[in-house]
């Protein structure tokens, strides 16, 4: 941890101020080499970033001496006021001066390893280490305190009420209390299940599912989607996580492109010569369109556009996309100008992906689109908690199991185990343990005694 790292610490693509964060022993020296303002510990100062003679941006910069900083190392933050382009230029300059590009989540990781994080932050420790960007960590934390936690708390309250009834039925067989019937049990479980489902389906869960900017790669079979995928994967040093295909027939990879967390959705898995399967392919492509922040559409440049291409294009209208006219190595029978006319929102690149030609242009384009704010960053970059989704799903499954058992009129104490599992799963998301919650409720709501 002795080197100095740097990265853009604000959300990509947002207008206004962008912050470049530098952390490590050389942070101060780097700043003094590019900044003409006064450098004082913990004082924000005004000045300009210079590259040699050239002014790059008008900025406010601050130097925070270790350990009183986010990472507990020497930290510099440069608030750039200009465009995304100048922000990028400043970053490149910082890198040129000796900083290394931070790995995803590396600031937070350093903060954690240096013992800088307090407990409320450590709540998401596991996520933090896996976090794709510092930004996603912040969001995870705010989410824990925010509406997600409120909603989960709400569902847990329902489960708790049910558990209390079940518990009191089991532990106080002689008491004069309302007996739990299977009908009541089932109807309560149904309501709970629906709420969990809604959360999974709904906007909150939608955000959570995302691991980064979602880029859908679409095109007819054999057009070069796999080559593109492989090309991008090869280029990006770190495959951050490998997510098992959540959609059965698509390949999904999380990659880091120029330090941007990108979630690639490739529909290559459906390639087959069989016609019906190709139709499924189109369906999958549509799904990918709808969920993506950004679309890469590949056409086979060695032959005229087909009906299939036409159909995909009809879905592309009005969407931000990047069109690749591929297989330039074989031939060029698709006119890029015609395409540009038909897809005014798109950028077009001619590629020969099989040879790796065009990959870096594609990366440039993705970076430009994102930093330029052209891709709405929506919430997709912000949230990436696979663990939460997993726990939500488990809770849903446990409730389903309990429901099935109630329908079969199985013993209450066995059903209770699954209900309690669901309660625990949700508790894990918001960091609450079961402890004495159930018993406390039992005694406050029922009159029991010997």
């Amino acid at each position: 941890m002795n080197d100095t790292i740097a990265a853009i610490a604000t959300a990509y693509g947002e207008g206004g101020i962008g912050i470049i964060r530098i952390s490590g022993p050389e942070a101060r020296e780097i700043l003094s080499g590019i900044f003409d303002g006064k450098i004082q510990n913990r004082r924000l100062s005004y000045g300009h970033v210079y590259d040699g003679e050239q002014i790059i941006d008008e900025v406010m910069a601050v130097y925070m001496k270790a350990p009183a900083s986010y990472t507990a190392e020497d930290v510099v933050e440069i608030n750039c006021h200009g465009s995304m382009v100048s922000l990028l230029k400043t970053l490149r300059l910082v890198l040129k001066k000796g900083a290394r590009m931070a790995e995803p989540g590396e600031f937070t990781k350093r903060a954690f390893l240096n013992g800088r994080l307090d407990l409320s932050q450590a709540e998401a420790v596991i996520d933090v280490v896996k976090a794709k960007s510092d930004r996603s960590f912040d969001v995870a934390v705010s989410q824990l305190e925010g509406s997600l936690s409120a909603e989960i708390g709400n569902i847990r309250k329902d489960i708790l009420d049910l558990l209390v009834d079940v518990t009191v039925n089991i532990d106080y067989p002689d008491e004069d209390i309302e007996q739990m019937t299977y009908e009541k049990l089932e109807s309560c479980l149904c309501i709970i299940k629906e709420k969990i489902e809604k959360l999974l389906r709904g906007s909150q869960a939608g955000r959570m599912i995302r691991e980064g900017i979602r880029v859908a790669i679409v095109g007819k079979p054999n057009v070069g989607k796999s080559s593109l995928m492989n090309g991008l994967l090869r280029e990006s040093r770190a495959i951050v996580t490998e997510i098992p295909g959540t959609t059965r027939d698509t390949i999904e990879e999380s990659v880091s492109i120029r330090n941007l967390p990108v979630y690639l959705i490739d529909t290559a898995g459906i390639r087959d010569t069989d016609d019906t399967v190709e139709k499924i392919g189109i369906e999958k492509s549509k799904e990918a369109f709808n969920s993506a922040d950004f679309i890469i559409f590949i056409v086979d440049g060695s032959e005229p556009l087909t009906e299939e291409d036409e159909e995909i294009m009809s879905y592309l209208e009005g969407r931000k996309s990047l069109v690749l006219i591929n297989k330039q190595d074989i031939g060029n029978r698709v006119n890029s100008r015609d395409l540009a006319d038909r897809l005014p929102n798109s950028d077009i690149i001619e590629t020969a992906l099989i040879r790796g030609e065009g990959i870096s242009e594609i990366e440039d384009k993705i970076e430009e689109l994102v930093y330029g704010g052209q891709v709405s960053q929506s919430e997709s970059v912000m949230v990436n908690n696979v663990r939460h989704i997993d726990l939500l799903r488990k809770a849903g499954q446990a409730i389903d199991d309990a429901k099935a058992m109630a329908a079969r009129q199985e013993a209450l104490d066995i059903i209770e185990i699954d209900i309690r599992n669901a309660f625990d799963n949700l508790g894990e998301i918001i960091g609450e343990t079961v402890s004495d919650e159930i018993l406390t409720e039992v005694f406050s709501r029922f009159c029991l005694g010997k």
């Binding site: 407990l119 409320s120 089991i170 067989p173 066995i414 004495d436 009159c447």
Partner: protein, 626 residues
Amino acid sequence: MSMNRFEMGTYDIIVVGAGHAGCEAGLAAARMGKKTLMLSINLEAVAMMACNPSIGGTGKGHLVREIDALGGEMGLNIDKTFIQSRMLNTAKGPAVHSLRAQADKNQYHIEMKKTLEKEELLDLKQGEAVDIIIENGRACGVVLKTGAVYRCRAVILATGTFLGGKIFIGESAFESGPNGMAPSTELAEKLREYGLPMRRFKTGTPARALADSFDYDKMIPQEGDEEIVPFSFMNDDLTKDQIKCWLTYTNEKTHEVIRRNFHRSALFGGQIEGVGPRYCPSIEDKINRFADRERHQLFIEPEGLHTDEMYIQGMSSSLPEDVQEEFYRTIEGLENLKIVRPAYAIEYDCIDPLDLKINLENRSIENLFCSGQFNGSSGYEEAAAQGLMAGINAVLKLDGKDPFVLDRSEAYIGVLIDDLITKGTNEPYRIMTSRAEYRLVLRQDNADLRLTEKGHEIGLVKEDRYERFLEKKEIVEKETERLRRKVVQPDAANPLLEAHGSAPLKSAQSLIEILRRPEITYDDTEEIDDTRPEMSRHQKTMMEVQIKYEGYIEKQKQQIEKFKRLENKKLDPDFDYEAIDGLRIEARQKLNQFRPLSVGQASRISGVSPADINVLLIYLEKVRRS
């Protein structure tokens, strides 16, 4: 006032108190070969059931079975002396079937006393312990009120409600042990003097009244079960003429009388400083807290066969006697009630159990073991379970052996002790099935399978019990295997299945599959199954539950494995948690104070959050890697 002290002898272990905890502690210590002295303020108080005349119930019945499986006495003693037996919760699943028996209180006391008297290495003596001799931070003797000094190597405290006992009846309050026994006040002072973290808890008991003053026509009879299931694994079939209990209800008039006299209750008058249990509120507490309830139920239970006293379950109170008489008599069937012992509340001294180690030894005074109500629990069974564990662990400590610890996945005893010593308690602690995470495995039918081997290893389970257990285990395994292989044809099985409202077979199936159907019992299938071995009730029950719930039990066993992973991550008790920066200050302090032995235990300490545990785990991993 200084008393002339004189030496009266030396023992390995001295147990202070002869209630349910003391009896198990003394017997365990003596049976494991230690010369043991048991002291009681009054020998009439040996195994005294100072409150309800019953043993068992939800969770508690499980404890009794576990005590029995480890070679304890409670199960055997209640089997000798019960006068009504019921299996509760039979409709709610195998894990929560709970045995409860009404006891003949006096007989229970007499039988237990006989057992103590017969135990070879055990001496039972009447005497009030007034001081614990502590040398070099180690308990090594007990001083009696008479000046007698007994030396020993370990002391087990089982003082119950005697310690600092104070009874409240209405406006009156006086120092007293339970049921009019003398209190133990000097010892209470000494323990505070020695710096033990003492506190006041409270409990209460209802009035006793004469049997012929009730009108039974106005009450609902509660019969015992036809088929009697014994508590002890050593008993197979018991037959007995059983007594009836009776059910009746309070009414608006009762509530009105009580409300009118709230101001005369010790509870609301502010005289009682002790904390009472939520699950055992007095009747005035119930009426105060649940004002909208139109009625509360109560059970009338005989105290024994040779007494006319009846226990009025559900109606404990600290109201004055005149009010008691007035409100009891508003109840249907109790109009002419003749009270012979008034209801009272009792306050007593106990220790904060967080001051105990996992073997129930005190953290600051070595070889001082603690058990029962002294540890903040409530109930005969909870007391007995801790007494047994304290007895066993005192012996192991003296022998220089590792402590005997049951974890939460092994026994309700483990849940009970782990809860007390890691979470602590703010009220008298009662076991409940919902406190156990792995209930499906911690059943009462398999308590011997879980524990008897362990009991044998430490030398408490003797050969007769052990052989009986091995036989049960073997026959159940063999018979389960046979049922797995035994194939039944549809023609043979279908008439039987139809008769029990079960779907007919379409093709041949193993008998074990048929037994998984909830509506079919092992005994039902006897007619389509020849070559069946002779099996006892205990054997059949365990086998049947294991077969019927195999899938769920497996699921739970996987959860247990997960749980064990954290339990098996050991922590050095000398570790300094201040060294971990990521931990919150509260967590550091708590961990430094409790010195957990495993990450699992750390995770249950109150004030240590799941996030702290993550920080701890990451730290341990970092250390491991470097």
